[in-house]
Amino acid sequence: MADYQWPQADDRSLIGKRISRLDGPIKSSGRATYTYDVQRPGLLFGKLVLSPHAHARIVSIDTSSAERMPGVQAVDVIRDAGQEVLWVGQEILAVAAETDEQARDAARAVKITYEKLPHLVSDVEPAQAGDRAEEEAEQVTGDPDAGFREADATIEGRYGSSVITHCCLESHGQVAEWEGDNLTVWASTQNVTGLVGQYAEGLQIPAGNVRIITPMMGGGFGSKFQADTWGLSCARLSKQAGRPVKMMLERDQELLVAGARPSIHARVRAGAKRDGTLTAWSSQAWGTGGITSRGSVNLPYIFQIPNRRSSYVRVSTNIGPARAWRAPRHPQMCLITMAALEDLAAELGMDALDFFLKNVGIMGARAQTYRQELLKGAELMEWKKKWHPRGDQTSGPNKRGLGLALHTWGGGGHQSNCNCTIHPDGSVEVSLASQDLGTGTRTVIAIVAAETFGLPLDAVKVNIGDSRYPPSGPSGGSTTVGGVSSSTRRAATSALNELLAKVAPSLGVEPGQLEAVDGRIQVIGDSSKSIAWKQACAKLGTTPITASGRRSRDLISSGVGGIQMAEVSVDIETGVVKMEKMVAVQDCGLVIDVKTAESQVHGACIMGVTYALYEEKLMDEATGLCLNPDMEFYKLAGIGDIGEIEVHMMTGPGYDDRGVIGLGEPPVISPGAAISNAVANAIGVRVPTLPLTPEKVLAALEKKGGAA
């Protein structure tokens, strides 16, 4: 009997190798079908009408002239007269028409009157927020006052990061189509299985009548778990019109309402002994993520400083609501902590790397991982050769600096079910209702199945992205890879065992003496006694084997550590920060595909450079409007802005044997902190908040007289 445990390093033919993603060619040549590309016969186009005010009461809605516009087929009112709208962009109604343009014209023809109400859209301090500030209970551990008395050096600092958006390149949206009472939705979602229930509940229809299909995903980052107001509205429009409707958010709508990452701000005190031993921490933090944002902030991050006190105030504002943003809260907590600690290291005159290594003991469960990663990172960055005390003293306006940060994440696999079928003709299928967000999920599933059967990758057909397949959890919390790899491994192993049982008699052995390798079934260790895969399957006659498997906790684990180092150059006359290099060292247990894993880390670093240097949702208090719901002033890094990225995955003994752990989120946590620290190291002064714009860099420099 084949064992479902992961094969040992020497026995792996595909797992842990560098394999190109299966959908690379169709994506890069434009042949991949995203929700945006779905075409259906008789398709109508939906368009949302959004609130132009940050806070108002709807006085009246008149859709009559819109209904008379050419091409209009349906109107769906989401929020009625009398109701309040709480942010610019809150959905009021939707229309569907024959063409995208007609829908847009009709949306503009709707007449809505509002009574404006007072708003707050700025990211203000709690003291200026009045009753919009909601305080959480203070957390105290040890004796902070005593800790500060023990310290030889203390720093006080102010740190923060603005509200940013998800800015998915494929905006949110879906195509909805009814056939009688059955609804099919092609959705750009991270939650194929979960959306079934959401549509069923939202539309009051049986879950069995709902089918969700997600062929390809153009980015979600935590913002695409819901059917959303527009999804349900799209289905209602489709029902009304009796025709399929496509409703994708426009770019401005995407930036206004489809997700925001809460801001964070904090005043921090931290203290350490002369040798770098951390003794005390105290922080008052606040932030906003819209009207209500859940989730709390735990400071300090990772470092279990023995004496610590922290508080958090949530400020509610009239901006589009927060959604989970890749590693929710972690980038914020990491920034506040790592920036303050790096300031403290500088105050002590210590190299931040030595300071962090000195405190490895209080880094919790992954302490030894961090130590190894810090040393590896230092080697790749040539840290010791390049590092200098704060303020690059070389001549000329371009100052170089190094910074580092570390992060942690869970990443345990979600619930996942897989069906695996071996056909008599030798072909193999695996089916599960998971989704590939662009992370390489499809490829990982194929690798696990092919490895299990000893077949080449292209012998396996992977069916995902359809709620008709066995249920899988949402792709959130970096839980997909653990879920799908273990359910696939279990299903494939069970299927294989059935096949081995069929084949064993013809080879005159017990099934337990057989293995599947190199496209053959053979007696373990003896390739002379074997049968080719195809011939083995032919023994099935006309009945395929199907077996199912579930997520299996003994194949996966949770809890990773990673470190990142940034090297920047800063033009101290213009304040422009240029990325030179990022080094990212990451563990995630057993790596199934080194190439797609590295590419996850690359993507995270790019996203990190972008939020460190450019991204900010700019709100205007006077008008309540967002000033940059576009890709012109909501700035994203381009290829020339990113610099070199070097990724190292921790693998081998001590890592592989933990099983598979998720990776999507952890590497996006550290870049902001590492880059902020690198800028401080380059110019000799902390730029308190992200993004690190020329304006803020110059202001920080001016405070210390303009020189690095």
Partner: protein
């Protein structure tokens, strides 16, 4: 966008005949990279678009003893690909190069770059060029003005002129030719731009039924050091925070004549006259270039949130001057 009629004339005369004498009714369409986005955002809603793309005489770069004539339909990429412009007028080539992406350079034209509308986010959100609320208060001075004017900003206009070619061309003493109902005339490009004093005025003196036909740079400037320096936070698909274009005539090492023009700091391309004058007689080095930079922003009056641009503008001048004497940027 709103519905519109589309006209595709092949002569200037025809085109002018199709243009209305009232703002907003008709619009000239060149590459469309700006006009179409204004229309999609309903900031512009002309009833008729008059494409000038079929008017042959608006194309091409030609030179004779008088000048280098750049047709209004010359794309930014054609400008950049022109060897003599790259060699003799790096100030202009560099400004064209700064307009990234490739798509913008391939579609955007010289005429369109000069006539494009400001990027002020209040203007683009539909509050009008002067960006005022119902009570006539400036949304800019009260609001987020990080990218707005630091010079020439006594009001009511606070936007910055978006063209990066204009400062370079003005530094190069270019003339602009205009064709209208009364035929063709020309003027110095610096006189083409104006700061609107009321909602009825625009950023240029161009009338609704006039077409920019070409730009002419005087031939005798060939060989005069010139350069542009742009301060950009990122490499592509972004706007400069400040630019400076300079032209120098040197006698030996000393400056005999200088022309310093700033971009993206005022509602018009900003002639930094006192800096130009101060430079006469100087030798360009770190110190004098820095001093000229300070001189150029002496009259700057930043708004609540754009003080940093004063420093940027002065650094841009310094670096443009140093680049000019080191052989272009």
């Amino acid at each position: 966008m709103e519905r519109f009629a589309y006209a595709n004339p092949s002569t200037l005369k025809e085109a002018v005949g199709l243009l209305s004498s009232r703002w907003g009714e008709t619009a000239i369409l060149a590459g469309g990279t700006d006009l179409l986005s204004l229309m999609k955002n309903y900031v512009a809603a002309p009833k008729r678009l008059v494409s000038i793309k079929n008017i042959a005489e608006l194309r091409g770069i030609n030179s004779d003893t008088d000048g280098i004539r750049i047709g209004a339909l010359t794309t930014l990429q054609e400008l950049l690909d022109d060897e003599s412009i790259r060699r003799d007028f790096p100030a202009l080539a560099h400004a064209a190069e700064g307009v990234a992406s490739m798509q913008l350079r391939n579609m955007g034209t010289v005429g369109g770059d000069l006539c494009q509308r400001p990027r002020c986010w209040y203007f683009r959100s539909g509050f009008g060029l002067l960006a005022q609320d119902e009570q006539g208060r400036s949304l800019v001075t009260e609001g987020d003005n990080r990218y707005h004017a630091i010079l020439g900003n006594r009001g009511p206009a606070y936007f910055v002129h978006p063209s990066s070619l204009a400062p370079a061309l003005i530094a190069l003493d270019a003339r602009v030719s205009i064709f209208g109902p009364k035929g063709e005339n020309s003027m110095l490009l610096k006189d083409f731009f104006q700061t609107p004093q009321s909602a009825n005025e625009r950023e240029t003196v161009l009338q609704t039924d006039e077409i920019v036909t070409r730009i002419t740079i005087p031939s005798f400037l060939r060989g005069w050091p010139n350069a542009t320096y742009e301060i950009r936070p990122k490499e592509a698909l972004d706007w400069p925070l400040a630019t400076a274009s300079v032209l120098l005539q040197l006698e030996g090492d000393a400056v005999a004549h200088a022309h310093v023009v700033l971009g993206h700091v005022a509602p018009i391309p900003w002639n930094a006259e006192s800096a130009s004058q101060w430079l006469v007689g100087q030798r360009i080095n770190e110190q004098t270039a820095a001093k000229a930079g300070m001189e150029a922003v002496r009259d700057a009056r930043p708004l609540s949130g754009n003080g940093y641009k004063v420093k940027l503008a002065s650094v841009a001048v310094k670096r443009a001057l140093l680049a000019a004497v080191q052989g272009g940027a």
